[in-house]
Symmetry: D2
Subunit: 334 residues, 4 copies
């Protein structure tokens, strides 16, 4: 299902090689003057001219076809559409017969009875993250929080000053790498998250795992805290604002924001498409065969992912923020 | 919000020290003869007589007050209730003034305007996982999958044959440890998971992060695969059933089950309640003070968590399984 | 599916002759001191000692087993349960073979594969309206609106001063009648209702049609305005508050409350269970046979329905009210 | 909120005078070869060249920008968009100051803080029913049911052979009329509808009340059965298929389809926009003033509404049909 959210709700559509992809964004407060430049800047971060990223450079020129009047949001849903232009559909015909390792080609073919649009990964394409970036960019415009991200590790590389050289080497090998990306959100007050099933971590993780290639999500110290004891892991409260001495819990207690920065770590698996020869099952001939993937691909999708993860997080926080408004207003009336 | 699921839907209620906790389970197929013994067995796994687990031994005697007729499900929602008996509410009065580190005491007090029931953690209590175990035990009775779990690491302990001695040591220290637990589901066919926002990983992670103390979720190799290149990480397809040579993706491709075993790893943080002295903020006196927590607590909640995580996963798979039935039936009609 | 609502959400369970029926009520603001007497008074209105109503007088003694602490709501879901006591299950065995006209006996048997609990109508029983009355009674305690209802017509009777004599006559005939009931809500400000699919009329009608025996819902003048022209039907605006000269639209414009009283008319069909002989299909013998229904039934369910309809409306308005709070707060921030 | 449906889900966007309106349609089975001509035929029924309908003749040329591959549905959401071409925005500037009687102008202005797009009614425009017609036309292509509609009454006119003359008379008066429209669906098996809150009547009514100008919905005999007694109203079962002697219940028992034709009656209020002079409140001058509405309007929206109501019903039935598939498949496995 392609809609998510309770008060701030997005509906996504599109496949990589059809006419357009897009998103309907519902629940944007009326009267917001959209900063188009900020949206474009976020889209550019997702699609940088950088080593290790695909040479397919979509212009990502988006159009807002409803929900705006006299440059301000009207309270009606925004519809944002992006045309698919730079597609080379011929590259993909072979996928029907020998699915690419690490991709969803075979799964999609079985699930959709062979009717799925396999070109460019169809609906499973990373291209679908562009509308998520746009929706999140809009959410950030009315959320009073500060978002930031950083790549913590890319393959075996931990020192990001050597990024270009490292990725050039991986490119030359015809291989790919994954990464660990941290999303940080500051300025979130105590109270976002609705137990039992719309806790902050539950909703954020669901959104992040909707993004292709995400295979792990932690809040705060996460798995690397496995050897810590409770006396070390517990964050000691310092004052009324919720500030704690440490932040091993990543800004979330009991599924609710606790007043400290949100710290989210995401594992992105290595890009599935690689030039290097691999083996796969050939359906037509019922045998294992070798496969070398052509086309234009990212060597490190993780280099483009930070803004996607950041904005996906913003979409969820917008929803929780609106819910929080509703309940807080009622609380004050008691 | 306390309901989740689209076709198989559960609604949870209850707080640790009030009269009862319970769950409404909707979407159970009619005509299912419930195996009560299997439900009880799962509840017992959550509440074992084992070193490192709380001496508060609720009987967890549950009652099904609707949805059953002549020992079979009727197609109406099941309502399952568990009375809270062995509560010692006097233990918790102090929480109003000096919140326990690592707990949601302060957050809950702020969010609910001081009206929350703070006794025993209230709605944030691990006790709320008992109804989840029940709902999942019922889901497993109509799902044709095989579920299993194992504790991979507990604090610094990796060799589970030394578990009792290790936990006795932590108990003696008045401290606690967390753990990494693996949930495995075999027999899942290709096709469970509904892009874009009800992908298998998205829904499972949301459910798992709803469980207290969960701070990390991965599918397949996860963060430990960070140094692998695409050529090593990609799972090579072997045949039509979707079987792959390796299973780094944990049985999920493009958010959809791919025919291989689901492998989910969950990080449980160390139990927040420890006997050892800690510091916290004293609201009444506006200063930092020392705090030693009394009461009966788990030293390693991770020892009780496996069945909770397994059954939480089953709840989600039941929902995705029902959705899959609907769409597959339609596909066959085209 | 047995849950409804976005921010104020109820989940219903129960069947007429099993152990209990109940409701989980989510989204009640914390700190509300529940007026139990008001809840009981509403339940009594649903179950009056009056001619034309069933002699089965459930005590409707309800228990709130979670969500209350020190007599106030905690912000966690309330769980309210009512035991089924005065049941005579022996009365219903015959239903398996010859379904009662006007009832859902046959439909339920087919849909649920014969596993449904047919006793007393099972989940289709009017008994399930008791938890709705309770949930609505609680909603009314935090909604700043004034609710009222009146029976406009009962069978052919329009002069309610002759009610008892009329219903005695119908009782003596062994027959039943339906009714038209008006629900009125005053004090609703402009703005409740969220286009396109959560308009006030859409949500209220969905809730009202969930109540057994409801077969028609109108807002304002409704069908009886069919001969009016636009120049007569249009309500002329008088001032900023939204007050209009007439109220043919029933207080709703474009699916949103317009500041005038909500006027909702509901058609309740005649009670299906009658003493008088009828014909039905006998499944066992595959022939049409005569049927005279025994048991204790209402002659005019419409006499008990007003508080059910009123409180069902309140449940929906609570949900829309909370949504309105969220968006209005954001609007003020622009 | 602009999304509705559980398995067959639509998301609507658009405002009358912006660039485009559209709909995202999720849950369409893959492999369906869309009959474009059938969609166009339904759109034409909504926009006929007939007396009493607006001279604004949008071409309603729609584009499907995703979800189709090699002329068949892919299993991904369809996105359908219609450009707004024949708009005359200058006609509407005055609405800011003196709201039109019977319209939502004032309500929208208050609710959205004056930021709503008031031109042509904005999101409240009947134009938004075009995407509903499209979505329903697609639903009808995989539903094995027969849909039909008829206008039962238009203003005071009951004999539809005199329709053109009657509407010409109303047009000459500068006035408008409403209507009663019947939607009939044949071939629906026993079992569609999910108690307690997704009963067939609840979901259909919610969808119908989402359509502008709908102010009443009944199933079967409805309000006109008020004087019938139970012995007359009850539908006597004739055989296993659910067929009954009469169909006063309109094909729905207990909120579930009962095997007889669905009969739904809808009251459409008279078109609010009329040429005849009316009074309204002038916000700028704070006084009551006269108003004569210019522009191109329908005299009897009811003449265009039948296909809208039919297709709106189809959207809901598609959702219930898919749910029914899921549960029936499971039932067979018990």
């Amino acid at each position: 299902m392609n809609s998510t959210g309770r008060l701030f709700q997005i509906t996504l559509y599109g496949e990589s090689h059809q006419q357009a992809i897009g998103v309907v964004i519902d629940g944007v407060p009326p009267g917001l003057e959209l900063d188009m430049q900020a949206i474009r800047a976020d889209l550019k971060k997702r699609n940088p001219d950088a080593i290790g990223t695909t040479p397919r450079k979509e212009k990502d020129a988006f159009e807002i076809t409803s929900g705006l009047f006299q440059d301000k949001t009207t309270g009606s849903p925004l519809h944002v559409t992006i045309e698919n232009r730079d597609t080379r559909s011929g590259d993909y015909d072979h996928l029907k017969h020998h699915p690419r390792p690490g991709h969803s080609d075979h799964v999609a073919q079985v699930k959709y009875g062979g009717f799925n649009d396999y070109r460019g990964g169809g609906r499973f394409s990373g291209r679908l993250t562009a509308p998520i970036v746009i929706a999140g960019a809009i959410a950030k415009q009315f959320l009073p929080f500060q978002f930031s991200t950083r790549i913590k590790q890319l393959g075996s590389l931990k020192d990001m000053s050597k990024l270009d050289a490292y990725l050039q080497k991986i490119t030359d090998e015809g291989d790919s790498v994954g990464g660990i990306i941290e999303v940080k959100v500051e300025g979130v007050p105590i109270g976002l998250g609705e137990p039992m099933f719309e806790k902050l971590e539950a909703k954020v993780s669901a959104m992040l795992f909707s993004i292709p290639a995400v295979k792990g999500v932690t809040f705060g110290t996460g798995f690397s805290g496995i050897e810590m004891k409770g006396s070390a892991f517990n964050d000691a409260l310092l004052d009324e604002t919720g500030k704690t001495e440490t932040n091993h819990s990543g800004g979330v207690s009991g599924g609710i924001s606790n007043g400290n920065p949100l710290i989210i770590n995401v594992f992105i698996k290595p890009t599935a498409s690689i030039k290097k020869a691999q083996t796969t099952y050939d359906k037509a001939e019922n045998k294992i065969r070798e496969l070398a993937i052509k086309g234009r691909h990212d060597v490190a999708i993780a280099r483009r992912a930070p803004v996607v993860l950041e904005n996906a997080t913003a979409i969820v926080l917008a929803d929780l923020y609106l819910m929080h408004q509703a309940y807080q207003t009622m609380l004050k009336k008691q």
